[in-house]
Amino acid sequence: MSPGGIVVVAEHLRGELADITLEMLACGRELADASGSGLICVVLTSDPGPFKALPFASNKTIIVKDPILGAFNPEAYTKVLSHLLKDLSPRLVLMGSTSIGMDLAGSLSVALGATTVGNCTRIELEGGKVLVTSKLYGGKLTARSEVEQGMVLCVLMSGSYPKEGGTKNVVPEVEIRDSPVPLTGLRIQFRELVEPDAADVDLTKVPVLVGAGRGVQGADNVKALTELAELLGGAVCATRPVVDQGWLPRTRQVGRSGAIVKPRLYLALGISGAPEHVEGMKDSELIIAVNTDPDAPIFDVAQYGTTLDVQDLIPALTEKVKELKGGA
């Protein structure tokens, strides 16, 4: 690869490619076409099988194989990638704003002397500069930054580019390599991958979801939301902070590390709209948000909203729904 190209670091678990990989390839393809540079997809794995015939939108796919790379290990990944990226010397490296990409950005930044930009939603190349748009302060503000020279590592947020743009109808050139460095003496050892507990409700199949955010203010208030959800033939779900507080079980979490849902109705109650949560519910058919903060980012994804207090609105809404159902 000639210096100045673009590299995408693929993410996968148990042989399944993560959607973020295709979104990064869509972003990379757009930039490579606009700048006339090459796009390489790098896959680290113990088994090239599931990846070598995928029609990625890259010009080339490099698969690095080693038994240690059978599961994600941040130390092993950093060793391989710092070696490989030094060699490829790209202008831009795309990683996912995920539990995997975020582990790598810092260590690769130091190892390669590269600039790292996090929470990226849009990347442009203009006259030799890399221009990046990122989300900051829980998505409430947008930051624009510029990097004039050197390698840039961009940590891309899910949902920023359409995943359809990450594939084409031919399989690109594939090169399978052994690890460029011995993966011995590692201080991190992967032991096992544990599947989540079976959920009492499959959130991805429920037509109506009543989402509880921190604005709900306590486990006691969740009861009223459950009643409303049941009246609407749906279920209660929650943001990460609500689950972390123990107000609802982990199986009810929607967002980056929980369920990705697309119900007919998502009623977002006391939810600010942090990017991690929005990733999991933005494709719902109808989103109605209730939040006392008129600047809350949730109102950017909702079709309808109100700044009334959740505690004041829910009893009135529950009564109204009962009344309409009774009269139906």
């Binding site: 544990v194 109705l265 950017d300």
Partner: protein, 255 residues
């Protein structure tokens, strides 16, 4: 076992965020601070280790004077040591700078584990933990929802979260830097009276050394997201808004 926890003060995003005249930073006078939420989880995880194995917990409070209050809270919750690292407003949110600074302060501390929240609301350049670990030549893994370690140190067993709720279990040889996503239990509550009491007797060690001049990312512009697809706001009292929502549901066959 010695555990250090990094506790950053960040702008409270629930409050209004005012952009400064330079158009690329927040107006310092208008910022309300809170402890970075995931750092609070990191402290809780350290205190859980203390409960299990009697770990010595040192809290490093980063930021302006508000960091001292956070340190009092940390001590009231159970931390043994409080260290204040003043950081000027202009230097905050730049994890490259903070990581290099903290590396020089923590290098000789003899810590088995250094815990921090895996991200912060004001950061624009990558996780603090990964950068800090690289400067200290220690391993780093983030996105953790559980940490355990035998009392004598050696190897920590960590639980790392992946999309869809899958958990990766790994062994990490100490000393190591760990990025916490959430503690095994919700962060403990401590009554205000106990914090006030801790404040009276609090012994804070202040580490006031120059911050390195490196910079992670140069922000050229800070702005509110472009309004385009903003929600249509339903106006009126509870009864009126409830009727409006119910009407929308009926219209779409959801009732």
């Amino acid at each position: 076992m010695k555990v250090a926890v990094i506790i950053r003060q960040v702008p409270d995003v629930v409050e209004e965020l005012v952009i400064a005249e330079d158009g690329r930073s927040l107006s310092e006078d208008d910022v309300m601070y809170i402890t970075n939420e995931l750092d609070d989880h990191a402290l809780e995880q350290a205190l859980i280790l203390k409960g299990r194995h009697g770990a010595h917990v040192a809290a490093y409070g980063i930021g302006g004077s508000e960091a001292r209050d956070a340190l009092a809270t940390s001590v009231a919750k159970g931390a043994e040591e409080a260290v204040y690292v003043p950081l000027e407003f202009k230097d905050r949110g730049d994890n490259h700078k903070l990581a290099m600074h903290l590396a020089s302060l923590l290098r000789d501390g003899g810590f088995d584990l250094i815990l921090s929240g895996m991200q912060a609301a004001d950061q624009v350049d990558g996780s603090l933990g990964g950068l800090l670990a690289s400067h200290l030549s220690m391993p780093y893994v983030g996105g953790l929802v559980g940490v355990d370690m035998p009392p004598g140190g050696g190897k920590a067993t960590v639980k790392k979260e992946y999309p869809g709720g899958r958990i990766g279990v790994m062994d990490v040889t100490s000393p190591a830097v760990l990025g916490i996503q959430s503690s095994e239990q919700p962060p403990r509550y401590v009554p205000v009276s106990k914090v006030m009491q801790a404040k009276k007797t609090l012994q804070v060690k202040e580490l006031k050394t120059p911050v390195p001049g490196v910079a992670g990312v140069h922000i050229t512009q800070l702005q509110k997201p472009e309004a385009g697809a903003r929600a249509k706001m339903l106006e009126g009292d509870e009864a009126k808004v409830a009727a409006g929502i119910a009407g929308l549901l009926k219209e779409r066959g959801l009732l």
